[in-house]
Assembly symmetry: C2
Homo-oligomer: 433 residues x 2
């Protein structure tokens, strides 16, 4: 099979290097030689650690789609539109198979691109788009294809997980750890895409599509990032037996699908709590299997190249599937209601004036919204003075999000409450041993 790679950043260069250095081993896995015939990148001359001898260079990536000597186009340019989209569309139209690592592209245009591939009788594969090297799309689409899936949850962003687990380990605060992550290259100079949960939401939209047969529904998702998680939250969670993870959860609740990406309290005894640093995890609940959880590197050149190579080998073996597990034209639209009626326990952190009667006011609001308190911790009182502020951390028994929103609005309006309450879901993880 003759391969072209568009985009020679760290992942593209690593993929090319693997194809060249391990050609014999990969040919055995693929059942035929995998020949890298053409590449496209910004700079033809840059040394990327492999020899360009015998490999054509195309300044315009779209030209790869038109080459008669290419069977499979690997798109590693990135971006949800622009040249990446043009290349993928044109390649499929020309009857070439496509492998991509582009979660934004697949989340936005995946259904249409999969329909195009199916119409042309070629494949589009995107294992590298979700959770790096963990073969999670394959796991859901093929390995667990006999199940009725009820929930897919995951730690899907390595940057957030690195920040949260470093805060946990060191007791340091968010801004401090983010700055360090940026200096180490674990976080971008503009970190919003990661720490505001956008990247994880793109990935979750794809997992949910494969698990539930719905069209990718990025716009129906509740997304909140990790900027508001502070050192006190981490230490309170620890005292309560939890760690905090940015968790993407897609689950079936009373006939609709609930989709959320938010910082979540996860029991220390669960598999997900053991997922630290830049690792990712994907956990699937279904019947008849129960739960399966896979953990591995969520990013990095090697892990991503592993997933790209697996897709290339599947393509060469003819081991191809509709991208979403079944015909892209038959995906249902996702209608995720504002309140699915799902019951959760919640963690609420308030900053209140340290004066008599405050707790009575707060707990009265909770009672009026039918929210039952499980624990209440008033942290170390301020040094002195009736107007000093103190944090109060409350965990609740299960309630639906309408009750929660009513209670939070009521608490916010109390004049003893100083800052906007911080609220997190407490996970009900079924992988808890």
């Amino acid at each position: 099979m003759k391969i072209a790679i568009a985009g020679l950043g760290t992942v593209g260069a690593e993929t090319a290097r693997q194809l060249l250095v391990h050609a014999d081993h990969l040919a055995t896995s693929a059942g035929q030689p995998l020949e890298l015939v053409a590449v496209s990148a910004r700079d033809a001359a840059k040394d990327r650690g492999f020899s360009m001898a015998g490999i054509s260079f195309e300044p315009d990536p779209t030209a790869l789609a038109g080459r008669e000597d290419v069977d499979c186009v690997v798109e590693l340019i990135g971006g949800e539109d622009g040249p990446a989209l043009a290349l993928v569309e044109k390649s499929l139209e020309q009857g070439k198979s496509v492998v991509t690592a582009n979660k934004a592209l697949l989340s936005k245009h995946g259904q249409r691109l999969a329909e195009l591939a199916e119409a042309k009788g070629v494949s589009i594969a995107g294992e590298a788009a979700v959770a790096g090297g963990i073969p999670c799309l394959k796991m859901i689409r093929e390995g667990l294809s006999g199940n009725q899936i009820s929930r897919v949850s995951g730690i899907l962003n390595g940057t957030c997980n690195y920040i949260l687990s470093t805060m946990e380990e060191t007791g340091r605060d968010f801004d401090d750890v983010l700055a360090e992550a940026q200096s180490l290259g674990y976080a971008e100079a503009d970190p919003g895409f990661d720490i505001d949960g956008i990247d994880a939401a793109h990935k979750l939209s794809l997992l949910a599509s494969l698990a539930f047969g719905i069209a990718p529904a990025f716009d129906q998702m509740v997304i909140s990032g990790i900027r508001s998680v502070n050192a006190l939250d981490i230490s309170c969670a620890d005292n309560l037996g939890y760690v905090i993870r940015l968790l993407g959860i897609a689950e079936r609740v009373d006939g609709s699908i609930s989709l959320s990406v938010q910082p979540t309290l996860v029991p220390k005894s669960s598999q997900l709590a053991k997922v630290t640093g830049p690792l990712n995890a994907v956990s699937v609940d279904g019947q008849p299997i129960g739960n399966v959880t896979a953990v591995g590197p969520g990013a990095g050149a090697g892990a991503t190249a592993s997933a790209v190579l697996a897709d290339i080998i599947d393509t060469a073996r003819g081991r191809v599937s509709p991208f979403f597990g079944w015909d892209a034209g038959s995906l249902s639209p996702c209608h995720s209601p504002d309140d699915t009626g799902k019951q959760n326990s919640f963690y609420i952190r308030l900053t209140v004036y340290d004066r008599p009667g405050v707790l009575a006011d707060v707990t009265a609001v909770l009672r009026d919204h039918h929210m039952s308190v499980e624990s209440l911790i008033q942290q170390g009182r301020s040094d002195e003075g009736v107007n000093g502020s103190v944090p109060v951390v409350i965990t609740t028994h299960e309630a639906d999000s309408t009750s929660l929103q009513g209670a939070i609005a009521g608490i916010r309006s109390l004049d003893c409450v100083l800052e906007d309450p911080a609220v997190m879901v407490i996970a009900d993880t079924s992988d808890d041993s």
Copy 2:
């Protein structure tokens, strides 16, 4: 696709029930209806929770292979030879695809059966044979096919893991927990197949074949079960920061493959330490990916049926692979040397007379065999009397197995040593976070 199931024990009955109850969903996943047309079992009349209306019953399982209305034969009879082997052979010869959960059969005859399937242009699939519902064969053969795998390790027997983690949780001793596991149905009346490591070794032989391209090599494996693990070992391991797991490890060491199934000290910080109760885990190390670990139910009707259904759906989709990832005829024989030269740290528990000079004698033997002591704990001394016995627990720095065997032989010959030393490997796990 028309399906026949041979063997209607708990797994066969659950597979049949899923095919009937979830026919529409499974047809969507498979891209075509999956029709159960015939079954074979000992007792035609038994109620197994599904209707036999429209399903033919064959008293002789081999008759299923001859039926013209069957495309795919599901073998759930069990046993490495006998009717299971006859059915699989005849089905493949007749050009029918086979799905099996039979690890003993695949470990013993897998290479020959895969060659037969490849010659006939049909598939033989056996995801359910290893680690129950975890799609680990698919993960190695397809999801990680672009990697040079250096090690596959796993917790592959749920019965052993249940016993070890219950001992850990309760402080109770082996015999007591085994008896309870038997009364709860988690262990067989004759438990040797599980607790002596045979079942795990069958599974490891298949994982190693897929990972390294070697013929299944059950007979080249170092196998030791969990009968000798006692409550003191569990508590000493705990004090040292470890838990004990029956670990199967296949790894590349200096050009040969080392294969072992043995109770192993695993750091509490590793993913594998979190695998408790009847869960299984499979952990793969390779380049460029690093490590991926998958955890899930290793046995039980639902988990095993999930894997059988996934194989049936792959077969229906034409998403088939050579069983071992590449041509069965090209597998290399496995030559696993007695001593691969691999360096391990070891845990050694001795029972010695409680008298002066004993530790000097023991440590002199270790020194003479170039084994360096990392820690030495003499447990609570016997009540009184110079001839009372006490346990001594030693952990060593890394040494090869020749040094270890020499040292153990030397220690055994000391007259202060009362019982055969108990020895376990201390894992060097790369999933350690």
